[in-house]
Symmetry: D2
Subunit: 480 residues, 4 copies
């Protein structure tokens, strides 16, 4: 397993192909350091006694100890540990731990490649396992590039005026394929070693050129990463872990990129491209049952702390808001637990979370993110929107006044009040705070996507049977 | 194990002490037959291949096969099976299966009696196990009488003007105790063999006389059961299982009732009376994670069926409503699964569900019941409120018109449409439908009670640690 | 103007054509007396000093003083008075005052007939004014029969397999027309003097036979009224106004009914049939901005009263619930005020409420009815579902116990507590309570119907202009 | 009336006392130009034909034509025009027009000074009218400084450990008073000519020193304004009005500031200090019934536009979201209309909005702001969080790719899509967007403050009468 320093050094060696604010930047630019700081946590804590058991496991391929973010889940227990690991790490970065994407991608592909081979006699799964072996040994960090730019939303990939609106194979060669297109809304691609590409939607037989999955190093020729970066703030003199956090949301352009066959995992098998799209989403939604409760943990932590500082922690209207947050966090988490409990082992050996539970959990999280921000705003009052800048808080001229007037209870230092409000302001009134909210709705599939997934997988016919039985339309006991 | 016929015959032998509409009635009165029909399901299906494994288990006391409703849970698996059994049985009666109350009572008391003995050196647990042994062998049905009438809500039991506002010990004798008071909102007491009494709230040392738990046969001298009965409808000629369902909600008056010592399980130990109150509620809330999803199953079944009959089942606005119902059902159920998964074995050997998960689950159900009725009303349109009576539907004079005009799709018989709407009308526009809604909010503790339980058991301090860490107030990694 | 006694006597003279529970009943049957009691309020209070100014006005046709329920609104002030009258009367009957239907029908037709004549040169408006003149002089009560049975919901009237699924003209004669079909969900038709028929949806040129509006006496040959009646309860010895309230929801069958030309108001003019459908709905939704706040007034009254009796009226969680109810009532009412303020006078002289405001008001009411019931259930606790029957409350044997144990604060008599809970039980746990809830969602058009109306009438293009201006897509100031 | 250029020049003459990011800045600093741009709109449009009638009126003092933002409302019509003016101007700045604060302050003080004089024989009202006369003639812009820093929230002003936690009189001199303390969350103070100070809460007789209201020029000796400034973005080459918008939220420190008597409007009259606090809030909440619908207009405009660009504008799930936004906007607006309609003229001649309606309107807005952001996020998808920076969009290297891949429908230029998403990103994912959200909840009083106002002003006793009447507890017709 790598150290975070090794991860950084590996990143710095990549050829510059990241674009920020009109400039091509290297991976050691401060523009992308926030994301690197986040990912680093997944390396730094592998030996920490509280995290070790969660953050590492034994590879079912090599038998070696590996980082869990490179693991293919083999059991319900694996899913439960991944969920808990995600929750605990996300708390430390005040949001998304970002590394789950690659993990969820390899889990989804482990099943889809096996299934494709079973029908088509291809050997994707073998190639894929070789890739995973390397992935585990080199302890790689991968972005999963799923969301295509999509063009006209009312048309399928092959129906678009511009055929490049979904990533597609433009050339098949003896040594590999050439792909073109773009993916957007891809988190952390600017700080990843690898980019794993999976399809974004169900593919029909006419969409075969779009039925492609593969992996490339992040700096592969022809790959351009346009990053929308943002960071939380923490000025000089007020060191705070929250201030080290950052994020990059990327448009990845594939400008006729060559991919050798050993890194191509699907190519034309539309049915299994559909399955791969579906399974990445499923594993990723299960990951959300870990990360979203962590975000809620953080929100309720700040909300409870400012209520304590304000001297109103025991009030009934505070209690009901904090309990509302706790209930949201734990219902989402419980859905992940049930998804593991009612999950099943696929023919490939991978343990797949139950679809209904993973989706009701992710959906509940997505439906509540803005509600949680609203609760935090209610708990904190208006000050996060009007908090003097830290330079003023620390200045000689007005600093003493601010410290005098921000004070509440005698036993709480002014700086603690200020830090707490500053942290809340980062959540409620910052660019990255807004990005996290939008991601809270859409990341891993927005509520309407989960609605569709539930609609397809839930057995409503059995529910109709209950109505038929009770009203005497049918005399049979309902099957369910 | 008894048959339902044996259960009925045993009930019929009880001395009449049930009062309905100003009259004392026998247990074979049609007034209470609806509840008896419900309970009978728990006997009738013990050998049914689909229900056998859920509905029966092995007693950890006698080693014999027993009805699961008389079982003390010994493992997470037991809790999961109880939850699933509850869900499946409730579907068959279109609502509450009613027998869980006694089961939850004995589970709570199994822990509280053991704990009381540990501190006080009493022998409640031994007596209690003897009672359970009989309970299992005779396959008894018990109401759990918890909710006291409470008088002035701003005063504790011992502070009330009238000291009888909570059930209390008025006399301690060598052979037993004499109790006085009343419990209300007690479901199915009119059709139970036994009444198990547990306290309704935390008791202080001043409330020792009120710190009492015991069991009595339902027709014990001095016990008066005033029943608010209701039934769903199903007129002659339109047989439907829903029409056989009924309910009795009771005020139970204890008019100086004598209880022999071997049926007294707590008497003065206020701390363990508090625990017993708490644990019955906890087990009962876990039961709700089974029964409430069943109610939602039924509601979504009727909603889906009428949408199908109306020819709009595939419409987006139907889909979003049905998925909303499915999500509610499965989040509540998932909370129960997590409560079992994260539960723990008590010193008494009883396996206790996790408090946070049982409560967030029950709370979510309680917060959504009326919302579910609203969805059903939206799906069904106004006809459940305006449906011609069945006598008109079947009449010679206007029946043919009604059948002509109620028809929708050619392939669905008018009678099926009528039955479906009739079933919905029973849910939305009947006295018992309303009772079920109120019980959906308050049964087992209303959302505000779960809010209090979560507030007490959830570790918000650990959440504050996260905020302190992220904002730099503390440098320690958060404990959680 | 009539007295309520005259209204009753006029009703009793009608030929029996009302069917309840398989029997044809006369209008003096107890089955329909509840509805008659409701309507009677609109006659009884015309001279009451608090109601006189609201309940009567001057006819713009005859100049005579008339009951406002027979008035064609001429100004914003008229609409505001109608709204307030509706709110005040509905409070007295604990729900729908029922008589607004006919009033809204004549208002809608006053505009549609005038418009039809303008295009087609017909003389519907003149006939119609003659009818209204009689309507005002005889102080008539009319049901408005709008909702057709509709058959297959995915087909238009003329596309149905059975052509009778919408009321239609089957024969045009020199002296009138013959109509066939059925309307359902028609409130109070069993206690109305007249039935006014308007179309239920937009009509295309192919639907000309269905583009018909007319009025007939309720006992016209061929008219059959199948009533789903219900009443609130109030047993002997506990007189309460709530107990006199009842409702009938009807399927009205038109079995080849002859209508003379002077009572035909549209016949084939599909565009104006569409307008008539639309305008009845618009006026009726404005009426809902009066009646729904009244229902909420009643719910908050009972909620506040039981909280007071329970001694918790000042608690924060009570306050927030009551304020929530007040806010719902007043937002709906305010929408009605704005609908009047921004309404406009039609060419016919009738003052039409603003469509957007009438619809957002009705929609808000419809979206909140079940929420209001939920709040009432939370405020009242479980007892409304478990309240002993009045016969037990008054019985010699168990009455004294019930009165002892239902008591709360010393200064509130047990009977007041019981009456208050009984009233709540009537709202939450009765057949009619359920009917009112379904009507609260669907009456006058369900929220989805208001959604469609808002979608059609709201100028979203002007809103897009704002976005275009702010983002620099267009340099013009937004028009709105 | 001034021009915006005159307003700017007047501002630039003020002595520098604004602090931003640790530096004292002049009013012509770019740091505060965003706010100045906003306020300028209120000057620039006074002669615009679409705005003239709204933005100007006749002074009831001088009879001269004045800017409506300096007017004391004399009639319901005045309130309706102020409401509409606010809505229309806010649309042009994509949020708060900011100048209403001073206007609401003088309206509240016009009533409180008159009332204080009536009881105390003081001459505050005369002084105040002189001040208003100057205010109107010089066409001044004032911040209203209400919210004190408050210290320990569980203590009243006079109970605080540090007596300066609420602004107070520290010295009374023959020529005026000296005040000390600080106000926070004060919008636009950095770009105001004047600061008007009113109390923030009910004052008791012990709080007399805190019962003070006055006005000072913004650069008065001892006044320090610490600004939390933010701006929306619009980079070079993509001019957009949204990019000129900014905001400053301020802590205003009163470091022993002298105020001459002719600018002191209350000093020690705690009852009228309470009234002034209350009335400023009331007028300000009425202003919110204009500005919040404008924010919703903008949100629905962007939501509708991106849906159109995405080609899904006609989909049902888009429709329901846009209608939800329209309903929120119009319910809030309707509440303002009703507040004007049911308002009343005070003895001072000022027309006061109805308290219940102003509060239910403001409350509804506050409860829905985050919900509106959520809807916008749902409508726009994830791109606002991942949108490439404008410098990349315009760059030679990656710009062409971005323009190719952001394209949707053939008839919509890529730049329009980008601008629309950029505008949404400014709302959802920017610091100022977050500030507006927090202000959307708390500005003018958060929902819990409106809850309290409604609780105090709504007549729940009359609602209890309805319940008493219906349930027969009282035989009297309910008064209401």
């Amino acid at each position: 397993m790598r150290t975070s320093e090794e991860y950084r050094q590996d990143l710095y060696k990549l050829k510059p192909n990241v674009y920020v604010r009109g400039k091509k930047v290297r991976r050691d630019s401060p523009e992308v350091s926030g994301g690197i700081n986040v990912i680093s946590k997944t390396f730094d804590l592998v030996e920490h006694p509280d995290y070790k058991d969660l953050l590492t496991t034994k590879s079912h391929i090599s038998g070696k100890r590996i980082n869990r973010f490179t693991h293919i889940n083999q059991s319900a227990e694996d899913l439960l540990k991944k969920q808990l690991m995600t929750r605990k790490l996300c708390r430390l970065v005040g949001g998304c731990i970002q590394r789950c994407m690659g993990c969820d991608a390899i889990n989804g592909l482990s099943v889809a490649t096996f299934a494709a081979d079973t029908e088509h006699g291809t050997d994707y799964h073998k190639r894929f396992l070789e890739y995973v072996k390397e992935f585990q040994e080199r302890d790689l960090v991968a972005a999963c590039a799923q969301t295509d730019v999509k063009g006209d939303r009312s048309k399928r990939p092959h129906q678009q005026d511009d055929p490049d609106m979904y990533v597609r194979v433009v050339e098949r060669r003896s040594d590999g394929i050439v792909v073109r297109g773009a993916k957007n809304c891809i988190t952390m691609a600017a700080v990843a070693d690898e980019i794993i590409v999976v399809p974004t939607r169900a593919m029909t037989p006419e969409d075969k050129d779009y039925s492609v999955a593969f992996a490339v190093p992040a700096d592969t020729e022809g790959v351009k990463i346009v990053a929308r970066t943002s960071k939380l703030r923490a000025p000089e003199g007020l060191k705070m872990p929250q201030g080290e956090i950052g994020d990059d949301e990327n448009m990845i352009i594939f400008d006729d990129v060559f991919v050798p066959w050993d890194r191509v995992f699907l190519c034309g098998e539309n049915k299994y491209a559909t399955l791969a799209a579906h399974l990445f989403a499923l594993f990723h939604r299960h990951s959300y049952t870990g990360c979203k409760p962590a975000t809620t943990d953080m929100i309720m932590g700040f909300g409870a702390l400012i209520a304590e500082y304000n001297g109103v922690y025991e009030k009934h209207n505070i209690r009901e808001k904090l309990v509302e947050l706790a209930a949201t966090a734990e219902l989402v988490f419980a859905a992940g637990v049930a998804a593991a409990h009612y999950g099943q082992k696929s023919p490939a050996g991978t343990f797949i979370p139950n679809e209904v539970y993973a989706n009701v959990g992710r959906r509940h999280a997505g439906l509540n993110y803005y509600k949680e921000l609203e609760i935090l705003a209610e708990l904190s009052g208006g000050l996060p929107a009007a908090l003097p800048f830290a330079e003023d808080f620390l200045s000689e001229e007005v600093g003493p006044y601010i410290r005098k007037y921000i004070k509440r209870r005698a036993d709480v230092p002014a700086e603690h009040v200020y830090r707490c409000l500053f942290g809340i302001s980062n959540i409620l009134c910052s660019s990255l705070g807004g990005v996290q909210a939008v991601a809270g709705v859409h990341g891993g599939g927005s509520p309407v996507m989960e609605e569709i997934a539930i609609w397809r997988s839930y057995d409503f016919e059995k529910k109709k049977d209950i109505a038929k039985y009770l009203s005497g339309i049918s005399e049979e006991l309902p099957r369910d």
